[in-house]
């Protein structure tokens, strides 16, 4: 078995892993290795051939592959080593990483710090439990995207899309451009979680209807999909009897959410947040296991890749602090970190723990649409910070900056609360 040591092992060579490795490099860390299971760097960006990436990070509009290449070029220039076709199969709390690839066989790397950057995967039909047969023609939207854009196969001709997330919207346009007839997009919620830009340019441009409060309740067909039954749902998302409609189609795309991929994190006993599906981290993106960090969609699902790059930078800074003995040695003695709990209107917050030695930026999502109000951080008695919002929606991650002065009086190991308050 190939045995080696590294200061930092980055698991995943997508946008999060590449930016995290580069961040470590900028802080002067040189002994880094990136492990990527695919045959190329860049991750899922390589199949996201549409544009709209990089407006925040680079100040220009790029396609997915172009955005990825900018980071790949920097990694090559910095001569950060990486292994492709390399699957990490295990990690432990002592930061031993076990991987395997066709060239070296089994590999063991003893790391001083590990960055988890494995990304996320799509929710599938199994998670929705739609009744019916098991015919061909039911795909996740990302799978269809890979088939068309990378492999060059057309998944079908008559299409229904379930879920109005951005990948579903982008695929509605892509399929239309390739000659398919996209009949409708069904969205179980009364609103879309996709960007307005995509509703406009992917659906409205081509007259594709979007049906809110509708879902697919049955899949028809034996060998190949023949049609789906769609129905309207009530406020509890239950199908309303009498609203069923049969829609003939040979293809059903599912764009029904993404799940952070944390099987490896769990092997290292990293504590997960049941709401985000990703690790519980502090403001340096350090998990509950000292020396193991996480960033990107493995931590929580982001709206824009630009925000992934930003988060990866923070993780790189965190690793630098840790390797230089600046991070507190929690886990071994007393955990000085303060827990942030979510109150009214807030579905989740990242980071979930803070030390508060420096200014902190909190990223949160709401649990519904709220207009005219403030998001507040309190310690139960005192209001520590607040920020006004005209509107918050579940589909958009919001930011909330906290000055370190506001956190000066907080009790080590204590609790804070983040919540929404309506002003109207």
């Amino acid at each position: 078995m190939l045995s080696m040591k590294a200061d930092v092992v980055v698991i995943g060579g997508g946008p999060a892993g590449l930016a995290a490795a580069l961040s470590c490099h900028r802080y002067g860390i040189r002994d880094i290795i990136i492990l990527e299971r695919d045959s190329h760097l860049g991750g899922i960006l390589q199949q996201c051939i549409h544009n709209g990436f990089g407006l925040h990070w680079f100040g220009e509009e790029l396609t997915g592959p172009e955005y990825a290449q900018r980071f790949i070029d920097q990694v090559e220039k910095a001569q950060i080593p990486y292994l492709l076709d390399t699957m990490v199969v295990d990690i432990d709390e002592d930061k031993r990483v076990y991987a395997v690839n066709p060239k070296h066989g089994p590999i063991e790397i003893q790391a001083r710090a590990v960055i988890l950057a494995m990304g996320c995967r799509e929710r599938t039909r199994g998670a929705l439990m739609i009744p019916g047969g098991r015919p061909a023609g039911v795909y996740t939207a990302g799978m269809a995207q890979r088939l068309i854009n990378i492999e060059g196969y057309m998944p079908g001709r008559e299409v229904v899309i379930l879920g109005s997330g951005d990948i579903g919207l982008i695929m509605a346009r892509r399929l239309t451009w390739e000659g398919a007839n996209v009949k409708m997009v069904c969205e179980i919620m009364p609103y879309s979680t996709g960007l307005i830009r995509n509703i406009r340019q992917c659906l409205e441009d081509y007259g594709i209807p979007i049906r809110f409060k509708h879902t697919v309740i049955k899949i028809h067909g034996r060998e190949r999909l023949e049609g789906v039954t769609v129905a309207q749902v009530d406020d509890a998302r239950r199908p309303i009897p009498g609203t069923e409609e049969y829609v003939p189609c040979d293809t059903l795309l599912l764009s029904v959410g993404l799940i952070p991929e944390n099987e490896l994190s769990q092997k290292a006993n990293v504590q997960l947040d049941p709401v985000t599906g990703g690790p519980v981290v502090d403001e340096y993106r350090q998990t509950s296991v000292p020396g193991i960090f996480a960033c990107g969609n493995v931590l929580h699902v982001h709206d824009l890749v630009d925000y992934v790059s930003e988060e990866a930078e923070i993780a790189g800074y965190g690793v630098w602090r840790y390797l230089n003995g600046l991070a507190s040695q929690y886990g071994q003695h007393v955990d000085r970190r303060v827990k942030i709990e979510t109150g009214y209107g807030v579905r989740y917050v990242v980071p979930q723990r803070i030390l508060g030695e420096e200014d902190v930026e909190l990223f949160f999502r709401s649990d519904n649409i709220y207009d005219d109000g403030v998001v507040e951080l309190t310690d139960g008695q005192r209001l520590l910070a607040s920020k006004k919002f005209l509107r918050i929606v579940p589909g958009q991650m919001e930011r909330f900056k906290i000055k370190k002065q506001a956190l000066s009086g907080i009790k080590p190991g204590g609790r804070l609360l983040i919540r929404w308050r309506n002003l109207a």
């Binding site: 051939i49 592959p65 172009e66 290449q69 492999e151 451009w177 307005i196 441009d205």
Partner: protein
């Protein structure tokens, strides 16, 4: 006609109606850029086309591509027709022109991904 501005995350709900003398009356726009967008959408909406093109002898079967500037939305289908059956030879680099002056729009279709040539051992 109601139109949601897509230029920034604020997403202003605008109303666009034809005024006199070929002018457009825009309401609800939070800034002047919004007005420009609304008028553009009513007269000649512009879009960037992104697609993929077959590659011969490359490490990947397809290379992703985009128009190097936005083109009239009405020209998208015509531009796509021009890419049908098109095959380019590896290697391809980001920015390589795959189709010049696509659909007569003045825009070029350029590669957005690097595809190396397969080297037979």
């Amino acid at each position: 006609m109601e139109l949601i501005c897509i230029l920034c995350p604020r997403g202003c709900r605008m109303n666009v109606e034809p005024g006199g003398d070929g002018q457009w009356e825009v309401k609800g726009n939070g800034c002047s850029r919004g007005k420009g967008y609304a008028v553009q959408e009513m007269t000649c909406p512009l879009r960037t086309l992104t697609t993929s093109v077959w590659v011969e002898g490359g490490t990947h079967r397809l290379v992703s591509a985009k128009t190097d500037r936005s083109i009239p939305r009405d020209k998208i289908m015509e531009a796509l027709k021009q890419t049908k059956g098109l095959k380019v030879k590896a290697p391809v680099n980001i920015g390589d022109v795959l189709v010049e002056n696509i659909a007569g729009t003045g825009a070029n279709l350029v590669a957005t991904r690097k595809v190396d040539k397969v080297v037979l051992a």
